[in-house]
Symmetry: C2
Subunit: 226 residues, 2 copies
């Protein structure tokens, strides 16, 4: 019975890691779609978003079955609930990828221009935060999750700089407004991905320590939130 | 024992409704702060956001205690998990209020101008969607939740119109860019509130029907997502 239970917990964790891989891949593809202005990659992102939605449901049902049939306690109960929460955050990462894909489609209808922003840098910060959060989950590492939350926020800075750059660009070149605004929204989606990764880190801490440190996407009082 | 259990479920539901009231109030206040350009209301929103974060934790812990000590099954198990999910969505509504408050602060540093957008309308659509979702929860009404999800999306239209209006405004009057962009972000936060309300409707359906219809903030392929 205990062996079966351990196996079920292990299966749940494995399945969540598949979901995490799908979400990471979605962001990767969405950024590629932006860089190559390639609508066929947008199609892949949209298709992947549906697959992520299905996987989210499957994982939720696995977790509920486990709660119903095995009635885990303490650490295992918190683990199962953390999986449900992380699962929801990963689905939101999938949504962010879908949003990027939508804005790439809009950009594709406009004259292509080189804007003075580094989407690759934002993407790499977002992906790095995701990787850190997932590693904390895989390694049951509350300290790693905590340091992800308490570290200075490079992502906030780069996102803010991107916003200001685009904002001053459209002041000088109003003909680039549509391109600049779509790019601003892509930057924002990547910034949100980092926020979801932080929520995942909070879920890991909730599980590992039984202490809830949540302060989702806490705002710093300067308008750079949500 | 069963009586105690029913009482615990009732307490959990009551507490979630307190949380919902706090989230609704936060949006109400944030919109008032915008309309009156009143930073003292922003302070209230920020203070309220902390209270919402605390309440989120309290409800999660109540739900976990209930799962651990009473091990609910079937309908009651799904209810308890729906509470955890709805709780997370309400906390995100609180974040959206905080985001509006941040942008009001930014607006306050700029010359005040009348922009041709109707934030009240967006607010009233967002609040209406919230109310519908919460009523579906209170009345255990899967049909109401479903019709909220399948109805034509007026919010999407008004949000898109607001974006286009502001976008063409800054083309004509680039000196208004900072005001227009902050207002755009306030509109977006309200649009997100409606999205969180839809997620709540999905959580209600998950609970009532045991069927998961999730498609959080599904994107329509035109860039108006996330």
């Amino acid at each position: 019975m205990r062996l079966q239970f351990e196996q079920n917990l292990g299966n749940l964790k494995d399945r969540l890691l598949v979901m995490a891989g799908m979400a990471e891949h979605a962001i990767q593809r969405a950024v590629e779609a932006y860089q190559a202005r390639d609508l066929s990659i947008c199609d892949l992102v949209d298709y992947g978003e549906q697959a992520i939605d299905h996987m989210e449901r499957e994982i939720d049902e696995m977790a509920i079955d486990l709660l119903a049939t095995q009635q885990p306690l303490a650490y295992d109960l918190r683990f199962t609930l953390a999986v449900i929460k992380i699962n929801g955050n990963l689905e939101r990462v999938g949504n962010a990828a879908g949003s990027i894909s939508d804005h790439v489609r809009s950009l594709q209808t406009l004259p292509q221009v080189d804007l003075p922003v580094d989407i690759s840098q934002l993407a790499s910060l977002a992906q790095g935060t995701m990787r850190d959060a997932l590693r904390a989950f895989i390694e049951t590492d509350g300290d790693r999750a905590q340091s992800l939350l308490s570290g200075g926020d490079r992502m906030d800075q780069v996102h803010k700089t991107t916003y200001l750059l685009l904002s001053s660009l459209i002041e000088r070149q109003p003909e680039l407004i549509p391109q600049a605004l779509n790019t601003m929204m892509i930057a924002r989606a990547l910034w949100r991905v980092a926020g979801h990764a932080k929520s995942i880190a909070e879920d890991v801490i909730f599980w590992v320590r039984g202490a809830d440190v949540r302060s989702h996407m806490q705002h710093a009082g300067d308008g750079w939130t949500n």
